[in-house]
């Protein structure tokens, strides 16, 4: 265990400090920030154009109530009609509302370059109607009972619940398909990237005598496990960093009203999406990564030298690409329960793509997921154990020639 830790830590830190990993880590974040920045610039330029602002002058009680309802649309800095006129002339506001009261009657005048915003108008009329009603009650000398009678309103029942339910269902459906796509794409890109890192790392030591020095110090299985473990930990680090960044971004964005209302309106989509990602599906992705990394290590050890690492890992890359393309055909609910998808969801590596699709689409239950997961874990254990026994032979073999010739030559040294 001690030597495993040494190999693991040395390889992990080496990868972690490498420029390529930092680039791999930062590039997607920068891309997102640039995209968001461009989007933000576009939004701010258009929003500054569209930002509707009016001033309210006159009756202070109406103004304060309107401000409490339409804070974003009211420019509270303007206190007098003369200032409002000047600001309107300068085109700094879209208009101003003048509220006055004469002979127990509220009078509202709007002066603007365009019509008064309908939301502001509704809120304004609601406030003023209420105040006018109070004055009317006072001046008409009606009793409280009569006032109650006069205040009876027509019954109004909202059927918004059904609509909400439908909206929620739509959001869930959208969340399911988007989370499937996200899972598949994450699986594909991370698998390809880390398989490449793993095969190159292993192949770097091929064609040199460094393997001899290493195997004169540590058992091949310990060394192999340490190296593979380091790459898995590296990948986990990247995922943890992204998850952390995502959580921090969520809380920061949630402080802005625009995003706050967006998150609130889309909470079903967001919670379903997160629920789909951070569940057994994530384990499938991780297991898929581990299988790919182990297979990539085998490919790397079969290359003649580091230059041949990419060539040696081609069969694995093609296999992952094949599974990726195939799985895209099963994303939609209804297709994901075909016989191919059913069988594939129990085959290691295929299952990392296909089983999450079936689980999200409710074509497979949790128990089936666990069985598929156990099959993959058993596969990893078997392959790692078997390969760590011949890893030394592959690494110490410097035979040139075809892929199969190198395998034969390595095994002949046994």
């Amino acid at each position: 265990m001690h030597k495993f830790n040494i190999v693991f830590m040395r390889n992990y830190l080496l990868h972690l400090k490498s420029k390529s990993f930092i680039a791999l880590l930062v590039t997607p974040i920068i891309s997102i920030l640039i995209t968001a920045g461009i989007g933000g610039l576009v939004a701010s330029s258009t929003s500054s154009f569209n930002n509707y602002q009016v001033a309210v002058v006159g009756d202070s009680s109406v103004k304060s109530e309107l401000v409490s309802k339409d804070k974003d649309s009211i420019d509270t800095s303007i206190k007098s009609e003369s200032t409002a006129k000047k600001e309107l002339k300068k085109d700094n506001i879209d208009g101003y509302i003048k509220v006055s009261k004469e002979n127990n009657q509220y009078k509202i005048n709007f002066f603007g370059s365009s019509s008064l915003d309908s939301d502001v108008k509704t809120d304004l009329l609601s406030i003023v109607n209420q105040k006018q009603a109070q004055i009317n009650v006072k001046t008409s000398n009606v009793t409280s009972e009569q006032y109650k009678q006069l205040s009876v309103k027509p019954a109004f029942k909202s059927s918004v619940t059904d609509k909400e339910k439908k909206q929620n269902d739509d959001q869930k459906s959208n969340a399911n398909s988007s989370s499937i796509y996200v899972l598949i794409f994450i699986s594909y890109f991370f698998t390809i990237i880390y398989a490449s890192i793993m095969s190159t790392t292993i192949a770097k030591e091929k064609g040199t005598k460094i393997s001899e020095v290493i195997f004169s110090s540590v058992s091949p299985s310990t060394y192999f496990s340490g190296k593979v473990g380091a790459v898995i930990a590296l990948m986990a680090t990247q995922m943890v960093i992204y998850t952390g960044a995502g959580v921090i971004a969520y809380f920061i964005l949630n402080m802005y009203p625009l995003f706050n209302s967006l998150f609130a309106s889309q909470h079903v989509l967001i919670s379903t999406f997160i629920g789909n990602i951070f569940s057994i599906n994530l384990l499938f992705i991780l297991v898929g990564f581990v299988i790919s990394i182990v297979l990539a290590a085998i490919c790397g050890s079969l290359s003649a030298n580091v230059e041949g690492a990419a060539k040696s890992s081609q069969p694995l890359v093609f296999l992952i690409l094949f599974i990726f393309v195939i799985s895209l055909n099963f994303v939609n609910d209804g297709f994901s329960d075909s016989i191919f998808s059913q069988v594939g969801s129990y085959i290691p590596l295929f299952s990392s793509f296909l089983m999450p699709i079936r689980l999200i689409n409710h074509d497979a239950n949790f128990f089936e997921g666990i069985i598929s997961l156990l099959i993959s874990i058993a596969f990893i254990t078997f392959v790692t154990y078997k390969f760590s026994n011949v890893y030394k032979l592959f690494m110490l073999n410097s035979e040139e020639g075809s892929f199969f010739k190198r395998i034969k030559s390595a095994l002949n040294n046994k």
């Binding site: 030597k3 040494i6 001899e212 020095v213 058992s219």
Partner: protein
């Protein structure tokens, strides 16, 4: 490899010699369990296994280091794999770099060093953990005479600390100078096995280095003379058909008088190596 058997004793240096392909590296690979074999290799009275690797230092024939690491991290990493504590190693690195006269600082990258200095770092990696068994595959190749002397000093120092050392070399002068015991392999078979003196004496003291006024023809006319090679003015190297003719030769060239040089010696290891290598083709 067939019936190869030899012993490397504590505090002794064993030279493994033989032509290319004779089986030297295969022997090392067998000791280190890189390859499977029939037979038994023991270390401290038990069959050698991966558990013993902490007490073994190995220098492969071709040098190889992680070029992106610093000298310090390279040495520390290999020593840690040999079971040494990081702190223990770091305390010793500077003195090792000084002893080997490595041109560079501990924080320098391996790739910034010259080939010779990289080789010294590799030797430090092999020896710093104070192994009990040291295997050096062609340790002198690529080293200039000054650096070869530095390595010899360290090999002797390691031997004096009680380690058993096995090294292979094509330079018989180094083998003769350093080794207590020599094993020669040919086509996977042991053809010589013994101390340097034992092996040389096996071949008889047939070589005579002499300074005399006699001519080559006069010397060749004497009994038991196989070959005469002139080494300079009046200086010859004479090969006898049998070492017993040495006394008669001495009498013939000295006539009972003082002579400047007469030395009867067994063949050098280099000569024996060539003879044995030629015998392969006979």
């Amino acid at each position: 490899m067939n019936n190869v058997s030899f012993e490397a004793k504590d505090g002794q240096i064993l030279g493994l010699i033989g032509q290319n392909g004779a089986g030297k590296s295969t022997t090392f690979h067998s000791i280190l369990r890189f390859i499977e074999f029939e037979g038994k290799i023991t270390f401290n009275n038990h069959e050698i296994s991966v558990k013993d690797f902490n007490e073994i230092g190995y220098l492969p024939e071709e040098r190889s280091l992680f070029e992106d690491l610093t000298i310090e991290s390279q040495i520390t990493y290999f020593a840690e794999l040999k079971g040494r504590d990081k702190k223990w190693v770091k305390e010793r690195i500077d003195s090792w770099l000084k002893r080997f006269e490595v041109k560079g600082e501990a924080k320098d990258k391996i790739k910034s060093l010259s080939k010779g200095n990289q080789q010294k770092v590799q030797l430090i990696c092999t020896l710093i953990h104070e192994p009990k068994l040291v295997i050096l595959d062609e340790p002198f190749s690529g080293l200039d005479p000054v650096n070869a002397d530095l390595l010899k000093k360290e090999i002797i120092r390691t031997k004096e600390n009680g380690a058993a050392i096995i090294f292979s070399s094509h330079d018989m002068n180094n083998v003769e100078e350093l080794c207590d015991h020599v094993v020669m392999l040919r086509n996977g078979n042991v053809v010589l096995n013994g101390s340097v003196d034992e092996i040389r004496n096996q071949f008889g003291k047939k070589h005579v280095f002499v300074t005399t006024d006699m001519s080559v023809n006069e010397l060749l006319s004497l009994d038991g003379i196989q070959e005469v090679i002139a080494r300079g003015a009046n200086r010859y190297k004479i090969t006898l058909t049998d070492e017993e003719y040495g006394k008669a030769l001495f009498n013939a060239v000295s006539h009972g008088e003082y002579i400047e040089e007469f030395s009867q010696q067994p063949p050098t290891l280099d000569e024996i190596f060539r003879e044995k290598a030629v015998a392969k083709h006979a």
